[in-house]
């Protein structure tokens, strides 16, 4: 998994590539927590993400709970296979997906 981080004003952009699984989810969690600060917008780009497991879903859920207090969280460019996981678990109604 690779993560590209970018700040633009009060927005924090993450581009995640590869796989988010039990092994790599802590790295994503750390990247979000360290980079988020007081950002009011978190945007995660999944255009190169091929796979996400429940470990990744837990990280997204934790991030969503934080952003519910301090701003917005958006997930973009989700591949069909990853979208299936969001839909089956009901996360498509919890997360904001564009």
């Amino acid at each position: 998994m690779t993560i590209d981080k970018k700040h633009d004003g009060s927005s924090f952009f993450l581009t995640v590539s590869g796989r988010v699984d039990t092994l790599t989810a802590p790295e994503l969690d750390k990247a979000i927590k360290e980079g988020l600060g007081t950002s009011s917008a978190l945007v995660i780009d999944f255009s190169d993400l091929d796979y996400i497991s429940s470990a990744g879903l837990r990280v997204l859920l934790a991030a969503q709970k934080v952003m519910n207090r301090q701003g917005t969280m958006t997930i973009r460019n989700v591949k069909p296979a990853v979208m299936d996981v969001f839909e089956v678990t009901g996360f498509s109604s919890i997360l904001t997906i564009e």
Partner: protein, 580 residues
């Protein structure tokens, strides 16, 4: 792709552990049975004399009928049940269990009624010219026939407890049967002075107690088998039971016929001294069965399940493990009996040295082990004809021919203990070679149908419980599935199943190492995974789990993605199957 695939490989760590767990109880079971026979003979011989021993020996056909019936019914139903479990058909497994119990009950009733009605003329026929032994034979045979029910029914817990992964309970049963028989023999023969009938009652009562214990364990909540109203009705199922039961029954039959034939030939060649020596050799040979029969017996429940799953990879690994473990045990046993040959000789009060006999018996253990492993494998894998051929050859035909030839040529009569096994191996090589030539889709020696493997749509591999290995395997499996033409969605689903199920199981086992054996298959429009694992008894998809608990989020994900998820506990290990 090739280099990465090499790392998705199955090893024997998981199945070796499961096999060895059931091996010691099987060996101890056979040993305790043989010690029981030894002690029985000593006590009867001491108290009643040689007439008592002769009477028991003449009653062997009565005992044989009960053994043949019990082993035929129960081995056939048990092997079919293990295959059904391998196909995830639990209902059929329960129906087969119920059928075996009912059949044993019915057969016992029929044998008891007919046997008691014809006991007198039967005893006369068994005694032949030895009319003086008729009262003793009648006394022993009549009690044995009355005890037909426990003697036939005891096969049920013997087979099904092992299949349930509780082989150690079978050992307890055998210890109670053996120890109880010896204790009751002493009480009935000495203080109560019941004569030959006392010896028979000791055997019947001790068997009844052991049988009751075994059935009580099978009826408990922990048991994977339960009586149900469904019994087998279809003709093809009955035929399958008969085919699968035939090797075990024929083995009992031919072993007894061999004993009678060998005794007769040795008596003619060397008189009672040679027969007496054979009695000692046969007793030690019976102990050697603890290895040559115990090893395949321990593997048989697992082989049945692998056969039902058409899991050739696991079958091959297990058969190889049987050979390696059995070889090691045979070496140890051989060293012991050769070293103790003179001690054995003096214990039986023999003048001649038993060294040649023990040496040939030892040499014969190795081809004998191979024959035994193969006959059990063929019986379970659908080649009962070859299992029966091996049994007929080693138990009767080649034993008789080898001994006849040795006596004719003036060679050591004990050579037959080795040559009969070697000749059987040669017969096996020829017969299996012919079959392989006619059916080239089957492997050369184990005759396993490789059609699924050749299509390239099954894959067996083993995984440890490290998160890194689980996640790496998940990724490689998804890649492999995509490359063999499984759709992207299913490929990812299989990778997810591996990761979610295994990480949850590793977490639940809290640091205790767990090993996984995985089979991925995509056959006839069915794609799925079978994951087998040790550790705690744990069903990741149990409805008792709190669905809102984040720990079970992954399992919930898989149960929603999959068409079916199934959990079983078989031979003491957990099995999960995910079908997409």
């Amino acid at each position: 792709m090739g280099v990465e695939l090499l790392q998705l490989r199955q090893d024997e760590i998981f199945l070796r552990k499961a096999f060895h767990r059931s091996l010691l109880p099987c060996i101890l079971s056979i040993l305790s049975g043989n010690i029981n026979i030894l002690v029985d003979g000593i006590l009867v011989g001491q108290r009643i004399g040689t007439d008592g021993l002769s009477a028991i020996s003449l009653c062997v056909p009565v005992y044989l009928i009960l053994c043949v019936i019990g082993s035929f019914i129960v081995s056939g139903t048990a092997i079919q049940a293990s295959k059904s479990i391998g196909r995830q058909d639990d209902a059929m497994g329960q129906a087969l269990y119920s059928t075996s119990v009912w059949l044993c009950l019915i057969a016992s009733a029929v044998v008891t009624i007919i046997g008691l009605a014809s006991c007198r003329p039967l005893s006369v026929a068994l005694c032949g010219d030895e009319a003086a032994l008729v009262p003793l034979v009648y006394g022993y045979a009549s009690v044995t026939i009355i005890g037909a029910l426990p003697k036939i029914l005891v096969y049920v817990p013997f087979w099904f407890l092992r299949m349930d992964g509780r082989a150690s309970l079978v050992t307890w049963m055998m210890l109670v049967m053996g120890g109880g028989n010896a204790a009751l023999d002493y009480i009935f023969l000495y203080p109560l002075d019941m004569g030959i009938e006392g010896a028979a009652w000791a055997s019947v009562i001790s068997t009844a107690i052991a049988c009751t214990m075994g059935l009580a364990w099978l009826s408990g909540r922990q048991s994977g088998f339960h009586m149900c109203r469904t019994i087998i009705r279809r003709a093809e199922d009955w035929k399958a039971i008969a085919i699968d039961g035939s090797p075990s029954a024929l083995n009992n039959l031919f072993q007894t016929l061999r004993l009678l034939a060998v005794n007769a030939m040795l008596m003619a060649a060397g008189g009672s001294s040679l027969v007496a020596a054979f009695t000692a050799v046969n007793c030690i040979s019976a102990f050697s069965l603890a290895v040559t029969d115990g090893v395949p017996q321990a593997a048989s429940p697992m082989l049945g399940i692998y056969s039902g799953e058409r899991d050739n990879g696991s079958t091959i690994l297990l058969v190889r493990r049987e050979w390696r473990t059995g070889f090691f045990c045979s070496v140890a046993f051989s060293i012991a009996i050769i070293a103790l040959s003179d001690v054995i000789s003096s214990l039986y009060g023999l003048d001649a040295s038993l060294y040649p006999a023990m040496a040939f018996l030892s040499l014969g253990m190795f081809p004998g082990l191979l024959c035994s492993i193969l006959s059990v494998h063929y019986n379970i894998s659908g080649h009962a004809w070859l299992a029966n051929l091996i049994i007929f050859s080693r138990s009767f035909l080649m034993a008789g021919l080898s001994l006849f030839a040795a006596l004719r040529l003036g060679l050591s009569p004990w050579l037959f203990l080795f040559s009969s096994e070697v000749l059987t191996v040669i017969i096996w090589l020829i017969a299996s070679g012919i079959y392989h030539h006619v059916h080239p889709i089957c492997t050369r020696f184990l005759l396993l149908d490789q059609s699924l493997e050749r299509e390239g749509r099954v894959l067996n591999f083993s995984v440890s419980d490290s998160v890194e290995e689980i996640c790496t395997t998940s990724e490689r499996l998804s890649d492999f599935c995509s490359e063999i033409g499984i759709g992207m969605k299913d490929s990812m689903s299989l990778g997810l199943a591996v990761e979610e199920i295994m990480t949850l199981i590793a977490e639940v086992n809290g640091g205790t190492p767990v090993r996984f054996d995985v089979r991925m298959f995509s056959v006839h429009d069915v794609t799925g995974l079978r994951i087998r694992y040790g550790g705690l008894e744990f069903n990741p998809f149990s409805p008792d789990h709190d669905k809102d608990d984040e720990q079970y989020l992954g399992a919930e994900l898989i149960s929603r993605i999959a068409e079916h998820v199934l959990y079983q506990r078989t031979f003491g290990v957990n099995t999960v199957q995910v079908l997409l």
